[in-house]
Subunit: 258 residues, 2 copies
């Protein structure tokens, strides 16, 4: 099942390269995992990998654990360097179909959730998904205006947590309103010291509820803040203007759910 690819003009190589763009992902309905850590996480989580691509060295190094029933392509070192976007490419990749899971219904969603309102930085987004996983949350909702979860840097920062928690793209108005109607607490976050000090809020009962994190520069949208159960503030003691959004998310999630 292993095919050697030596021409950088090969049609498949062009398709793989295109997976760093939204257009390329849409055309082939697939996305790219870069580096052994992510490929291994996908294998462990029994994900529907469609192909494994790697240099001769990488494929040999991992031969014992690569599945025999998945198409495998051996790339020259120079072709491998043109795929993906890591600064220090590891020479091994996998392709995965874009998921077509049934949309999650906020009327019935269980457990803890992180809602992302227009978060922009791919590293921050990936780190928050990883942290949500570590804090035992069920899933993450990407509201309008948040960066795509298939960006290579988001995928790298998630470190495989996309296989452990549910990722949903949806309107946060709908999700916040559905949760509060179900009497599940939804905590917004706010840079305003007038908001509630997060240290004075108890852990979420039965770990069922949500935390909303906002845009790096502007915070959470005011119309969403008006829909939450309460908006929380992390007191800043020093002279820093603010916390990094992923650090703030970690502090609040581990306080409420950890």
């Amino acid at each position: 099942m292993k095919e050697k690819i030596t021409s950088s003009q090969n049609k498949r190589v062009k398709q793989w390269r295109a997976l760093t763009s939204k257009k390329g992902r849409k055309q082939t309905q697939s996305y790219l995992l870069e580096g052994w850590h992510l490929v291994q996480e996908a294998l462990k989580a029994d994900q529907p990998i469609t192909a494994i691509l790697g240099t001769a060295d990488q494929l040999a190094a991992h031969a014992a654990v690569l599945p025999s029933d998945v198409d495998c392509f051996e790339l020259t070192d120079s072709i491998a360097k043109t795929i993906g976007d890591a600064n220090t490419p590891q020479g091994i990749f996998a392709t995965m179909p874009l998921p077509h899971a049934a949309p999650v219904d906020p009327q019935t969603a269980q457990g803890g959730w992180l809602f992302l309102d227009q978060v922009q930085d791919p590293g921050n987004i990936g780190t928050m998904v990883r942290t949500a996983d570590a804090a035992g949350l069920t899933g993450v909702v990407f509201g309008r205006g948040s960066a795509s979860r298939y960006l290579p840097k988001v995928l790298r920062s998630m470190q495989g947590s996309q296989f452990h928690v549910q990722l949903v793209e949806a309107d946060l108005h709908d999700w916040i309103q559905a949760f509060t109607a179900r009497h599940l607490p939804v905590y917004g976050t706010n840079l305003d010291p007038q908001a509630q000090d997060y240290r004075n809020v108890d852990p979420v009962p039965l770990a069922a509820g949500a935390v909303v994190m906002g845009n790096e520069g502007n915070g959470m949208a005011p119309d969403l803040q008006r829909l939450t159960t309460r908006n929380l503030y992390i007191p800043i003691k020093g002279q820093a203007e603010s916390l990094n959004v992923a650090v703030a998310a970690g502090i609040v999630m581990f306080r409420l759910f950890g």
Copy 2:
């Protein structure tokens, strides 16, 4: 005091470009601040800026607040793009002397401290300095093997917190032993669930003590762990293998000092 520079072969331009390397910083005993946010933070903190460099547009935009007693260089757009290392350069920079502060003595250091043991990722380091500032800590000690605090990405992630907290390069053995000898608590961090659950530790009395964060892949060095008052663990509830080191640092610092 404003000089226009139009040749990319200008000697000063070459020196500024070299400030992204350790060698260049050493030769001129100075380092570079990139982007208006950092330049503004340095001005606010009354730092000894030696020169301001910017495109005509950027210098005009900030003319009202630029100091008149500092050398100012107007760069062409194309030259400005070759200085610094931001993906999206903002066209404004300042140069600063490398600090020659008297070394801080661990026998007399006051307040809360973050100790970094071989932390590698510049974004993580910068974010931890910013978080230490927000949590009201006095300073950060860069132990052997941690990345330089003058890397452009470290400087960007610190967001000016380097002007608010003390940054020290030193041997962590010395600092940990000095603190514990003074009966100041030093909390190591550990991925081992046998370590102490961080939630069962009270905030540090009088906010005087230290937290140690270790290398991204290997954690804190075992010989340092043996010197601490106690080593803390953040329980992972989901399937993530670990937390990002900057997120973990935020959770522990805000628990102990926040």
